[in-house]
Amino acid sequence: MKLILFSFITSFVFYSCSKDAEIKPDETMLSLHFKHFMGNDSLKLKSTYYQNAAKDSFSVSSFRYFVGKIKGKSSQNKQWITLSNNYFLIDEEFNKEISALNIPFQQYDSLLFEVGVDSVNTYQSDFKGDLSQSTGMYWEWNKMYIHFMLDGYYKQTSTYSRGYVFHLSGFENVQKVKLSMSDIVFAKNKLTTLNLKVDILKYFEKPQLIDFNTYNNVTTGKQAQEVAPNLKSIFSIVN
């Protein structure tokens, strides 16, 4: 019953749009800012070539991914609490923030979210907002969202750059990311901003070493399943 009551209450909080909704006495606010990096350098689209762990030289034309099912683990009772049920399209070019979610006020040990859109939320999608079909992140042919998009060029030879495409899709490739928040102190009625470093170089490292001669057009299927777990390690909180 408690759980039902809770989902009932939170549903109104989110329905009424967290950005504009008035904050309730037992709530506080959380923003997530995603900072895209190549190792220690801020990501620069198109102009800069980077080197991955496989020693391939590559550039990035577009970098986008879905973040959803954001939860926090309560420090008090160790239960996972839903912080947002929306999906957010994070895009190097257009939007790198999830702004001012109204969340239950308490302390949290951990942050949990998913990269990608799971089957339930795909089948039940209303195609509104970030889940719109017209963002280029929904695929008609397999009726799935592209969870993670990384496109650009790699130097196939010293003089010839070839395009590469990671459009990771497939429900089995949605990745759960868990990060410690035990150092973050939440205060009542005060916005807390988490800065998340997203290191694209780590995507190429492990568990699957990604070299462009093998992996240059990855969507679903075997290759996608091999590389998708790499997404787990690219996020860290750097507050």
Partner: protein
Amino acid sequence: MIKYLLFPFLLFSCNTQVKDNLAPEIGKKYTYNTPSYFGDYLLPTNNIATEEGIELGRKLFYEPLLSADNSISCASCHIQSAAFSDPGKFSDGVNGKLGTRNSMSLANLLWQKKFFWDGRASSLEQQALMPIQHPDEMNQTLAQTVSKLQSSVVYSSLFKNAFGSEVITAENIAKAIAQFERTLISSNSKFDQFLRGEIQLSASEERGRQLFFTHPIAESGLRGGNCGDCHGGNLVGNGSFHNNGLDSIFSDLGVENQSKSIYDRGVFKAPSLRNIGFTAPYMHDGRFTTLEEVLNHYNGHLKQSQTLDPLMFVSNELGAKTLKLTENEKKDIIQFLNTLNDTIFVTNPKFSKP
């Protein structure tokens, strides 16, 4: 159980403006009638559509007074029978001048965020005033335009009905034209009937549909035309911008003209392909006259350059540099493309010259 009942509400997105919830200060509010499978759209909060505004906008769209020698209206280059594009490669401006790009089709503009082949306008209101002032198009200042319209008794009353004042402004000209253009919704093609579950596509059309949207994976033998990566969704266009391999040396720099970035060289908008059978010739410079030529371009004639889009390297064959579809596959895709033609749209009397 209850959790799932609540689910639709939980998904309600916060980034989306609740559509059409504002009342106009004057006039009868107009509600755009759009199919749900096109998804939601944003409307400007400072230009709320009214019956009166749309009526005015339609008249302005067909009004040659907008051009310097009173010879050309918006509709001269956006011809309804061509899904509001121009069957000519380039369009005639005043004084016999010719443009340098093929006139774009106007349909389902509610879902577009950037306009022109190079995306230089970020709203329809902004877009509408540009061809009026362009020396190779209508070649008329906004002051001249306002003054010519102001001297017409008909327009004084139409502007009063739409905007509450007989005093005509360039801003209101743009607003009215934009309101009319947003009514140009094309949703009665065979593909729409298919999306609504009213009909089935023929076997060839259905094969073409699958190929059109599928991103191929050569390793696993999954075949596709990869068209949907740029012309995706039910609108058959993402509004994204790409260099699709037309040239190695560029006479038209495309988006680079605006951005001054060499990484935008030869980059143009990937338009929606709705009504594609009515909108020939194709590409920003109208270089292809048939869909066969277009498919052949992607299939084997891509030109290399520094900005050739990464998606252009995707192939049905390992290591190949172009799509490598078979002749039958190309035929099937063209069969599907022709299901995007909406004859009701191109003959709808509500969109024709008033």
